[in-house]
């Protein structure tokens, strides 16, 4: 951990995981939606469901969805700000399979009608992970440009993607590969230091054996 992960963050209490992390999840959901949210159904799981109210997790998630950061003094009153902003929300307790104990699933609708379901977890110290976007497993922080490619499990796909990144002078920060079975469906999740050009993303979509390409670039840490 770096110096400012030991000292910091500057945050509204009481818990870095249940409050600061929850604000970040709300804010990241808003960034991923890329619209002002107008309605959300927030499903709390595990420790979030059990101790969330006492830790202000509910108010923290709403604060983040309203665009507040973890040190915003308005967090405790976020429900009132939501009402003023015309943002409607409700909470429910949900069950998830094999999820981190501090997890939440947010179904959100934006002002221009876009809908998105985000499943995320708070890992401690305010750090978060986005686990699912709609029906795609992503398991990344989404703080760096992130490319998620679903493809058939055949030789050559990783090479296509990494060659494309290399040609664009994009450096890979993290990369992981999964597959459901040999020769089945595979997923690669790649976090990069630089953004990836739009036309290269479109080029990937048309490659044979590539099933789906998702690109996330919300621009920087939150």
């Amino acid at each position: 951990m770096n110096v400012f992960e030991i000292l910091g963050p500057v945050m509204v209490g009481p818990s870095s995981s249940h409050t600061a992390g929850a604000v970040r999840i709300g804010l990241m959901t808003r960034k991923l939606l890329a619209q002002r949210p107008v309605e959300a159904v927030i499903g709390m799981y595990g420790s979030f469901a059990a101790t969330g109210r006492g830790h202000g997790t509910d108010r923290a998630l709403v604060a983040g969805l309203l665009g507040m950061r973890p040190d915003d003094m308005r967090i405790p009153d976020s429900f009132r700000y939501a009402k003023e902003a015309g943002f409607q929300f409700s909470f429910e307790t949900i069950q998830l399979r094999e999820a981190h104990p501090n997890s939440v699933m947010i179904r959100v609708r934006g002002e221009k009608g876009r809908e998105l379901t985000v499943q995320a977890s708070s890992l401690g110290g305010g750090r978060i992970m986005i686990n699912r976007l709609d029906d795609i497993d992503v398991n990344c922080t989404c703080e760096m440009p992130t490319l998620i490619v679903h493809n058939m499990d055949q030789p050559g796909h990783v090479s296509h993607v990494t060659t494309m990144l290399s040609q664009n002078s994009v450096n890979i920060a993290n990369m992981s590969l999964y597959r459901n079975k040999r020769g089945g469906r595979a997923v690669m999740v790649i976090e990069t230091d630089q953004p990836i050009p739009e036309e290269s993303i479109r080029w990937l979509e048309h490659l044979e054996g590539v099933l789906k390409v998702t690109y996330i670039n919300v621009g920087g840490e939150i």
Binding site: M11, P14, S15, I75
Partner: protein, 288 residues
């Protein structure tokens, strides 16, 4: 972070003829690829946020559960009346630790150091000391780098999360960091810094994380006092020339082992210890 042990920080200090804090600063510049000015400026903002958090304490507010609030004000008034057994300075440290812990529980803005639950320890010793002794800000920033370096090594070798290491990992680490910071402010050596940190940690070894209803309130607020006062006594021992008979890095390793052996009911699950008492359970039930 390049340092795997406190001894390694001291070794770097000896090789490059640096004070402890500067070895930590140089490592941060290298690690995050920033300039000296950027790093120091960020530390300055953090220090200002810490002081602001101490200043904004409100003795009238209570936490959402209603379990905590007001103790910091009571303590401050008691110290002002000149009644404190431990004297006016330590009295202020106790009040400051309670106040920051309560501010955190009441959803005020604080600085996690190293965690939100332990956010009262470091400012409790630094804020009154700076005020009373008129310490230049640069010295305080150096003390904060010293504290951060200690925290980094503990995070790497053991843990700073109550859920994995118990309260010793949170308040124990905060106390070790605060001891190191104070030793720097009193002109102590690198050797004294790491031995003071080790003695703090040793005094809090085995402390479990047993919060009532899983909230960062009971006993977290008052444990900030333990961390702050033990930091002072450990710093004084180190400055007197007393050493930890077990080397500081091995003390950290012992903390990790104790955390691993600790029952899960005593690691932030709200089940064992104080959380598991009849009263603790009854309090938890009032929230549902």
């Amino acid at each position: 972070m390049a340092f795997e042990s406190l001894e390694m920080i001291l070794q770097t200090c000896r090789e490059k003829n640096l004070p402890f804090w500067e070895a930590v600063l140089l490592d941060d510049m290298n690690e995050r690829n920033t300039t000296r000015e950027e790093s120091v400026e960020q530390m300055r903002e953090l220090w200002h946020a810490m002081k602001e958090a101490a200043r904004c304490y409100d003795g009238e507010i209570r936490s959402h559960s209603g379990f905590v609030g007001g103790a910091g004000k009571q303590m401050e008034e008691y110290v002002k009346d000149g009644k404190a057994l431990s004297g006016p300075f330590v009295g202020k440290v106790i009040a400051g630790a309670l106040q920051m812990g309560e501010s955190n529980a009441c959803m005020k803005r604080i600085v996690a150091a190293p965690t939100a639950g332990a956010c009262g320890v470091l400012p409790a010793v630094l804020v009154p000391y700076e005020q009373e002794r008129k310490i230049p800000e640069q010295k305080i920033l150096e003390a904060l780098y010293t504290a951060a370096g200690i925290g980094q090594v503990i995070a790497l070798r053991a843990s700073i999360a109550g859920a994995s290491g118990g309260c010793q990992a949170e308040i124990g680490t905060a106390s070790a960091m605060a001891a190191g910071a104070m030793i720097h402010l009193r002109g102590g050596t690198g050797e004294q810094i790491i031995h003071g940190a080790a003695m703090s940690l040793k005094n809090l070894l085995g402390l479990v994380c047993d919060p009532v209803a899983g909230l960062v309130e009971i006993p977290c607020v008052k444990r900030n006092v333990a961390g702050a006062v033990i930091a002072l006594s450990s710093a004084d021992m180190a400055l007197a020339g007393i050493k930890s008979r077990i080397s500081p890095d091995q003390v950290i390793d012992a903390m990790k082992e104790v955390g691993d052996l600790m029952d899960v009911r005593l690691k932030e699950t709200g089940r064992g210890g104080l959380a598991g008492t009849r009263e603790g359970q009854e309090m938890a039930e009032t929230l549902n």
